[in-house]
Subunit: 132 residues, 2 copies
DNA sequence: TCTTGACCTTGAGCGCGCTCCAGATGTTAG
DNA sequence: CTAACATCTGGAGCGCGCTCAAGGTCAAGA
């Protein structure tokens, strides 16, 4: 009988991976790299993730999706570990990141305009060829 | 005396690099990888880029900025080499790419929302702490 | 003439973010 | 009890997109 929800809402690595969309290997890698700390273990040393861990991994995913580097992520985590007094620094880090992300999105949108021109060009060229 | 514009509008690698923002090494790398073809050479074997090359590198940059892989880029170039009859395929490739880019941008914007929530959280937390 | 500097080629090296492997231990269904 | 499967650790390997190094050619200025 497989437990689907029980055991105090704790997730096995496999369940965690499914829930977050992050591979088991990557979860362990993040832990090694200091992005994931104090993960609970059961009596035999297997990881058991809790709801906080799930939420944190979702934050990590958002930051990775927006292109934050492992190094910055590590810095961010370390600040978190150092206590509430680092909140201004963490805010600063996120604001810096945000500015970069907005720039990146704008660069992509700008580049997309040229791609669209190319697309239009091909559409017209193909249509012409049909008529010619 | 250094020529700044002369020589039939042809650009040296250094000038090309400056103009396009792509490093000399990367320009050569792209050439090796088949992304840049039939680059002219002067009598001593040095590259001389023309206006078409500049425009093409700008296209490459847009495609790279939007995350097209080297492999797809190579495919796109090869199709171009095969003549006008590959235009429908090239159009298809660009349309596929476009869809992916739009998705990527949306994913980033979505992730940015969560980052913004975190930012708000810190802003409030810091303000509270000041008042408390 | 000599030096400087841009360019050439070939091929190795690198940083990032995973991803995989080996070999051991734990867990569970039949 | 056993077979099959999940997890553990430590460390190696990989794919991508450059980037750099070594050793050479060539042209121009002092």
């Amino acid at each position: 009988m497989k437990k689907l929800t029980g055991e105090n809402e704790l997730l096995t690595p496999g369940q965690m991976s499914q829930q977050t969309g992050v591979s088991i290997d990557t979860l362990r890698y993040y832990e090694r790299e200091g992005l994931l700390q104090s993960i609970n273990r059961n009596t035999s040393g297997h990881r058991r993730y809790n709801a906080d861990d799930v939420r944190w991994v979702e934050v990590l995913r958002c930051l990775r999706t927006t292109g934050m580097s492992m190094e910055q992520l590590r810095t961010y985590c370390q600040l978190g570990d150092q206590g509430e007094h680092t909140q201004p620094e963490r805010l600063e880090l996120l604001l810096r990141h945000r500015r970069k992300v907005v720039q990146d999105i704008e660069a992509m949108q700008q580049s997309l305009i040229l791609v669209d021109h190319k697309i239009d060009f091909y559409k017209k060229a193909i249509k012409m060829e049909g008529k010619q």
